[in-house]
Symmetry: C2
DNA sequence: CTAATTCATTAGTAAATACTAATTTATCGA
DNA sequence: TCGATAAATTAGTATTTACTAATGAATTAG
């Protein structure tokens, strides 16, 4: 019963580590809004599985929902990626690589 | 035997999703180089467990090793984070938020 | 009301995972 | 040469996880 709440980074990473669940997130993101039935379609898994994945994603703060009639529409909540961004930021990866790209770009524009 | 090689994003996410293993990566990163014995120290798990985690991290391309005598020194390979960066980049999170930071920074330097 | 649809939840299962304890291989120092 | 130390590997285990099939709860349509 000692439910040590896991680190947000852990929660988000775990949510996105599973390929099926990550694919669900990607589809939700690409659609502005999408119902569970539509997500199930062509997902290769059952509707129950999709609901379970959505629950994980929601707990991780990666999606939000809106109920309408008997449908529930999900949308992405990219702010949920924030813990990942913060974590990775700590490793300087972004600035290094992205500024390199930026520098290349600028050189191209104005050599 | 049909060893469907998992997506690099999956490999990296999975490697970092476990708190213990992520902590190992963090410690490796903070030290320029660190031996397995030292990593084991105060990790809360056995030396065997640490070696297993290092193996995962290595397969994910997140660490590299150098053997010297009976020690093996590990160092971080932050380029291993590249698949994550690329994946997240697709979601526009970085540029939006980071440019905000950049703007703040510039304002500070040259108000 | 009844039948159909949508989604969530449950119980059960097979596979994956994180660990330990023990062993193995290698290197070092006395 | 021996004993000690470092690290990897192995076998075994308990827990977690991703799934299915089935059921439940709510909403809509005929």
């Amino acid at each position: 019963m000692i439910e040590a709440a896991p680190n947000p980074v852990t929660t988000v990473m775990r949510a996105l580590a599973d390929p099926t669940r990550r694919a669900v997130f990607e589809r939700v993101f690409e659609s502005k809004e999408i119902s569970v039935a539509e997500l199930t379609r062509g997902s290769g898994v059952t509707q129950g599985a999709i609901s379970q994945h959505l629950k994980s994603l929601k707990q991780a703060g990666l999606v939000a929902e809106r109920a309408e009639g008997r449908n529930v529409y999900y949308r992405a909540a990219p702010q949920g990626l924030e813990p990942l961004v913060t974590w990775m930021d700590h490793y300087g990866v972004f600035w290094r690589e992205r500024f390199q790209n930026l520098r290349d770009l600028l050189k191209e524009i104005d050599p």
